[in-house]
């Protein structure tokens, strides 16, 4: 089965981010999206540790320990950016001011429940960071993940088995196989990778999918 690479997936997500959007990219794979934002669009990256207008990594030797992103990697500030304290930063997230957040996930359910912070394993040290705030706060919550676990299990599920990050929060899922909207009538497939059929996608997905418009006519 043909799959998007992580880079291709990041580029696919980036394509959907419009001019002028205020965007938070979660730790991990979502951070890659920054590398693929269209250069002709002005997009504002927010970092939960108090940055708006975050720029790319600095040139080697130019790192500033006081200028890091949520993943604690060195970043830069673009002209027109600003710094603010943590309560103000989370007010942006929780108050519904961010247009888009992109989050990784362990699982997403049919109803848009998100599990991405805790495996629930007995020896796991729980660590939530800002995931719950982003999930409830951003106007659009996009999930970006591999369609299947390494063991080949669907990460799209009827009901999450992992502890939830937030209930009914996900708007759209981008995987290495498909782009899927979470809608009141179910998980509607919008796109599939070249050569993949709806039947094949459904077969590897442990939740009912709604076919894309062209398939409905087929």
């Amino acid at each position: 089965m043909k799959r998007l690479t992580r880079e291709q997936l990041a580029a696919r997500v980036a394509r959907d981010i419009p001019e002028g959007a205020y965007v938070n990219l979660g730790i991990g794979m979502p951070t890659l999206v920054a590398n693929y934002l269209p250069r002709d669009r002005e997009i504002f990256l927010h970092s939960e540790n108090g940055i708006l207008g975050m720029g790319p990594a600095p040139a080697p030797g130019e790192e500033d320990p006081d200028l890091i992103n949520a993943g604690k990697q060195p970043v830069t500030l673009l002209p027109g950016g600003s710094f603010f304290h943590h309560a103000d930063s989370f007010a942006m997230m929780r108050g519904g001011h961010l247009d888009i957040c992109v989050l990784g996930a362990f699982e997403v359910s049919v109803s848009g429940d998100l599990a991405n912070w805790h495996t629930g394993a007995a020896d796991a040290i729980p660590a939530v960071g800002g995931a719950m705030d982003l999930a409830i706060g951003a106007k659009q919550v996009l999930v970006m993940m591999e369609h299947l676990t390494r063991a080949g299990e669907s990460k799209i599920v009827e009901r999450c088995r992992y502890p939830l990050t937030a209930v009914a929060c996900v708007d759209r899922i981008y995987t290495d196989l498909a782009v899927i909207d979470v809608t009141p009538v179910g998980l509607r497939v919008r796109e599939m990778v070249d050569g993949l059929t709806f039947a094949e996608l459904q077969r590897v997905t442990r939740a009912a999918l709604v076919p894309p418009p062209q398939d409905m006519c087929a």
Binding site: F44, P79, G80, F83, A91, R94, G95, G96, H97
Partner: protein
């Protein structure tokens, strides 16, 4: 390229509908966006609910909006002032509704709206007329009153300098309600003395980041 500056005051308030709820910045006349208010009067929207600390001074700005009979209801902390004669007359004639809110609750309820807080408990007002009928609770041995966020369709505020991304800095005590109102409205319109180039505002000193601002207009 993002450009939140708009060419005219008229354009800045063109889509305010009748019946809108409007936050207007300022403490007395300091920080009051008078040019935007004048444009709103010219625009003609009626039946407005206005949230401001006061209820107008003299005959200009908010007082002129009241005098033009555009305001159905004032939400404020301190309507009665030496020069609030326009409001006073309308109020005594029963032509404008008044909701008096303790000033700290006014600021905090506006902030709550901007910060996504569903409601909060505060000691302010407990045991007074202004908390009558409100839910109360003893927390850590102290009585509190439950207060809800105040949102608006538009916030009209005044800042000192702004850029095309909507970043704002204010001037002295004219800052007052501007930064919190900017966070609490569906559409925030800032009247500024000057639009500066992107990058000209010190990122450490930006008071209102552009994310909260939708339109910037020079006046």
């Amino acid at each position: 390229m993002v450009n939140k500056t708009v060419a005219s005051l008229q354009a800045a308030v063109a889509d305010v509908p009748d019946g809108a709820t409007i936050m207007i910045g300022g403490f007395g006349v300091a920080g009051q966006p008078s040019a935007l208010i004048d444009a709103l009067i010219a625009q003609g929207a009626r039946n407005l609910t206005v949230i401001n600390n006061n209820a107008g001074n003299g005959e200009r700005g908010l007082a002129a909006l009241l005098k033009a009979r555009r305001v159905r209801k004032m939400v404020c902390s301190f309507p009665r002032q030496a020069d609030s004669f326009v409001f006073d007359a309308l109020y005594r004639a029963g032509e404008v509704e008044l909701e008096v809110v303790p000033q700290g609750n006014l600021a905090e309820r506006i902030r709550a709206a901007g910060a996504g807080i569903g409601a909060f408990f505060t000691p302010t007002g407990h045991g007074t007329l202004l908390a009558e009928g409100k839910e109360t609770r003893l927390i850590a041995g102290r009585p509190h009153v439950l207060e809800y966020p105040l949102t608006a369709d538009f916030a009209l505020i005044k800042a000192h300098r702004g850029d095309r991304l909507g970043n704002l800095v204010y001037r002295k005590a004219a800052r007052n309600f501007g930064p919190v109102m900017a966070t609490a409205a569906a559409c925030t319109v800032a009247q500024v003395d000057e639009v500066v180039d992107v990058g000209a505002l010190d990122p450490e000193a930006v008071v209102t980041p552009g994310i909260f601002v939708h339109r910037v207009v020079v006046a």
